[in-house]
Subunit: 213 residues, 2 copies
DNA sequence: CGTAATGTTGACAAGGGTCAAGCTTAGTGG
DNA sequence: CCACTAAGCTTGACCCTTGTCAACATTACG
């Protein structure tokens, strides 16, 4: 509580109403959801925040084979619905019957426009990473890692890895031996070419993408 | 880019300087870090944001037995250092030689004070959850889950679980069978008492805490 | 060129997943 | 109010993926 950046205890109710209703010019909508009903789905416009009056909510994603990773549970008093783009990337569903207030998105102040999106981007990456480490096999994790690095370096096929195998292992929740074996198998199958240990040429990005589904 | 909430491509440099220097009344400090040197550590005051000029950074935590979970890598152009409390909860270290600009914390506008902390809290939870699912065994994950639920319900020893075993498994990256076996083992060892399948009495919270380190 | 750090590969073991059976609880209809 | 059913949960047996331990190879650096 001391810091201007501190966050209240879990019991503290956030005064979203006081904060946002001014902007929307109107109080929040309160909606009732039955158990196992959808609140939003990937692709839906992310133009609101949600605060739970009562009940509980799960946030999750699905792999195409049906494996599911829940990235968060939310209970009464908590706020969810943040996204880093204009569309949702996750499912939100009521676990039990819920009362949920929805608030139109906050104002376009400079901090909201610039700083908050950075935090939200980090949050989305964290959530996606949870999907990788929570539900994917060793080779799927390494494939996802290579694709992530490729994208973050502009999509060029020659990817530079500034980090060690130990770092990669710790990032993916694997041992260095398992990471190394995955690299070797991708090399043997022609998916990648190891220019050197820290430079990878991605030869079959689609094959890697197919692994991650 | 279309949405007022959209986030630029990874290549886009965030104009932190233009945004924050006004507040600090001064431009950013540029610091040089050698490879494998600490930028901040758990317990350090979190009163700045950092933007990477060149090089790469790892964000991680340690379990007491030395297992490490890296929750993020950051490369040139990216911003890190967000925390939900006044102190850092993670290590930040240079992977290679780095040039890093540090910016004093942003202004206390209403959105920054209220909305950003919510996002940051979610981010920190995500990062801590990565530690759990990336590096902990099945029983450690379930112990961490029970403790998290206990804390989020005010620390009472009778914890209500609104979610199914399937949900818990998906949250922890485990199958329902493994979750169930962990509950059973905790029951047999007297750490918990299962009042019913959805209500747990935490009898030895310290024993559970010891498991998570 | 020599040494230490980093990475690769192999053999083996174990933790957790898969498959299957049975149990418990909650909800429904007679 | 009880019986029936379906969903959720528990337990067991087996097996596979990945971790562990070890040896060796390669790279980086002084």
């Amino acid at each position: 509580m001391a810091s201007h950046f501190a966050f209240g205890s879990p019991a503290t109710r956030i005064d979203l109403d006081g904060m946002l209703s001014q902007q929307a010019g109107r109080g929040a909508q309160v909606t009732h959801y039955n158990a196992n009903t959808e609140i939003y789905a990937p692709g839906d416009r992310a133009n609101a925040l949600y605060q739970i009056d009562f009940g509980a909510v799960r946030i999750y994603r699905l792999l195409s084979d049906g494996r599911r990773q829940i990235s968060a549970f939310h209970v009464a008093g908590e706020v969810f619905g943040f996204e880093a783009s204009e569309k949702h990337g996750f499912f939100a569903e009521a676990i039990a019957a819920c009362g949920i207030r929805s608030y139109r998105m906050p104002p376009e102040e400079r901090v909201a426009r610039e700083l908050l999106p950075i935090a939200l981007q980090a949050l989305v990456r964290a959530q996606e990473h949870m999907l990788v480490i929570g539900r994917q096999s060793a080779s799927e994790r390494v494939a996802a890692f290579l694709l992530e690095m490729m994208e973050r370096q502009g999509g060029l096929d020659h990817v530079d890895l500034p980090m060690s195998r130990t770092d990669i292992g710790d990032y993916l929740g694997l041992t260095i031996e398992t990471v190394s074996r995955a690299f070797s198998r991708f090399r043997e199958s022609g998916h990648i070419h190891l220019v050197n240990t820290r430079t990878v040429e991605i030869r079959k990005p689609d094959a890697l993408r197919a692994m991650c589904e």
